[in-house]
């Protein structure tokens, strides 16, 4: 009761100004307090941490499956999240570490370098597609580009395993094939999601920077050589 009074008091002055005294105003104006919102917050706040983490992991895993079998679906776009790209980025950067032969302090810049390339590359591609008239939002595009790095991360893991066996021309050939295949897969997967958001005649203009982006990452993966 008192709450309703307090809520309607801010509006008390208005009724004098805008409505003439001859016309009676009935009913009461009360500000909705959004109690339903409060209930929702409590419902996810009270659940155990394990459930929250598992729910997020399941969402991330679901998107990984969508990248593995890219078909024109909007699941990746509808509920985007950046956990997957972060996970992939960190994994790739860790795998690319310990590469160059000379000194120990090379590990630091390499990790940061991979991070910077992936995130700034994604941002530039997103800006480019928006400027070309795309309908996709900023974070949706980041999400798609990040998730489509997964084939290249898998290729990196494979390359590292192959390099354990030796680094002759045979291993180079195997690595070349694996990296080329995963690069093509990444590009194809990301265009399957991104191309729909562009006007029909400009798809090539959007695909080209994506191609360059995965090409650069693929080169970093291919030319990785372990410390001696």
């Amino acid at each position: 009761m008192a709450a309703a009074d307090e809520a309607s008091r801010p509006f008390a002055g208005l009724s004098d100004v805008s409505i003439s005294e001859d016309i009676p105003v009935e009913g009461d104006i009360s500000v909705p307090m959004g109690s339903s919102r409060r209930d929702d917050e409590f419902s996810t706040l009270d659940e155990p941490v394990k459930e929250t983490i598992l729910r997020d992991l399941r969402a991330v895993g679901n998107k990984f499956i969508h990248v593995l079998y890219p078909k024109r679906s909007s699941a990746l776009l509808r509920d985007w999240d950046l956990w997957g790209p972060l996970l992939l980025c960190v994994t790739l950067a860790l795998l690319l570490q310990g590469g160059s032969a000379d000194s120990d302090d090379q590990g630091g810049p390499q990790f940061a370098e991979v991070f910077v390339i992936i995130w700034f590359g994604s941002i530039i591609i997103t800006l480019n597609s928006k400027l070309l008239g795309g309908t996709i939002s900023f974070f949706q595009s980041l999400c798609v580009l990040g998730y489509c790095i997964m084939p290249l991360t898998v290729a990196m893991a494979v390359c590292r395993i192959v390099l354990v066996g030796g680094s002759g021309p045979v291993s180079f050939g195997v690595r070349l094939v694996v990296v080329t295949a995963s690069f093509g897969w990444s590009t194809f997967a990301s265009t399957a999601f991104l191309a729909d958001s562009q006007p029909a005649n400009r798809k090539a203009l959007v695909v080209y920077p994506v191609f360059l982006f995965y090409f650069v990452i693929g080169w970093m993966v291919l030319t990785f050589s372990p410390a001696q």
Partner: protein, 343 residues
């Protein structure tokens, strides 16, 4: 009195008519010019001011009332938590709204990418034709040539050049300093494109040439197409003579194209010489620099691998003319050669 009745009657207007203290004296038909604000163009602005003032007064009154109630009804019903929680929520809501308003205003002002949108309005066919035209000089210099003002093509060419540089550095077989190489490649290419464009625009401004900043960016960006092609070929086929031929041919063609476009927009012999001479010098030297700066990395690798006692043999190895198809073969060939010398 007529004045009194007049003031009472004016309140029947739906938009809340004139108050006594605003413009008109009660019931008088004459508008007192003393009270009229000079800057107000119409009476609607005054109405807007009045409403705003009233709303502000209400908000202040509401806050005062809320704090008053807070003080008086503190412990009375719902406990302290009830009223304070509600007030806290309202205040937090206000703060959030104000912050959001300010942030969105700042964002719309500074991060508005729509100002760049017209420069990206191209079709793939146009980009392709402009790429090819950038290698074909046009001989008409008496009438200003048309220079496309777009940024998509130049931007993509700069990124392609960065990728080619990285490819060149990797095929030279070294991973000595990956971090700085990547940063150097990006810094070099973007620095050249932006820096030289600005410099040429500055010179054009000095000599009063008819060219805008966007056009210099576009011209120089498309001129990098020749560089991309030359570097792509010569990073894979390490043949110095081939590089010099391509440098003169492709580099020269793209330079001539840019020079002709600038000539058509400049008047006077000295300005033309200055502008076009500077541009051709910088453009050709940049290609030379890109080739040799990243070529030396191979020789640097040989230095570090073999050590000081191998210096004379290293010179012999470098002079051996070879036509290689990729660097792994070349390095293996050099290794074999050095092994044969040492045994």
């Amino acid at each position: 009195m007529s004045a009194g009745s007049g003031s009472r009657n004016t309140n029947t207007e739906p938009w809340g008519s004139f108050d006594d203290n605003l413009i008109q004296g009660g019931g008088s038909a004459v508008i007192d010019m003393e009270n009229m604000d000079d800057t107000s163009g119409s009476s609607f602005e005054d109405m807007g001011e009045m409403h705003q003032r009233m709303k502000e007064e209400e908000e202040v009154a509401a806050e005062a009332a809320a704090t008053e109630d807070d003080n008086t009804d503190d412990g009375e019903f719902l406990g302290m938590k009830g009223i304070k929680g509600q007030l806290g929520r309202q205040v937090a809501d206000e703060v959030w709204q104000a912050g959001k308003r300010q942030a969105s205003r700042a964002f719309n002002l500074y991060a508005n990418i729509d100002i760049l949108r017209p420069y990206f309005d191209v079709e793939p066919v146009q980009v392709r034709s402009r790429l090819i035209e950038s290698m074909i000089p046009v001989r008409m210099i008496n009438f200003p040539q048309k220079i496309a003002g777009e940024l998509y093509g130049p931007l993509m060419l700069v990124f392609t050049l960065v990728a080619i540089l990285l490819h060149g550095m990797k095929t030279s077989g070294t991973v000595i300093r990956e971090g700085t190489l990547m940063g150097t490649a990006i810094g070099t290419c973007f620095g050249y494109w932006l820096g030289v464009s600005s410099f040429i625009y500055f010179l054009a401004y000095l000599v009063n040439a008819q060219i805008t900043m966007l056009q210099t960016l576009s011209l120089l960006g498309y001129g990098l197409f020749g560089h991309c092609v030359v570097l792509l070929v010569t990073y894979n086929i390490h043949f110095h003579f081939l590089f010099y031929v391509l440098w003169l041919l492709l580099g020269g063609l793209s330079t001539l194209r840019m020079v002709a476009a600038l000539l058509s927009r400049t008047v006077g012999h000295t300005p033309r010489l200055l502008l076009c001479g500077t541009l051709s010098l910088l453009h050709m030297l940049f290609l030379l620099y890109l080739h040799f700066a990243y070529h030396k990395i191979v020789e640097g690798l040989l230095d570090s691998l073999e050590g000081p006692n191998m210096a004379p043999m290293q010179r012999v190895a470098r002079d051996v003319p070879e036509l290689t198809l990729n660097a792994t073969l070349r390095i293996q060939g050099v290794q074999l050669l050095l092994d044969s010398f040492s045994t």
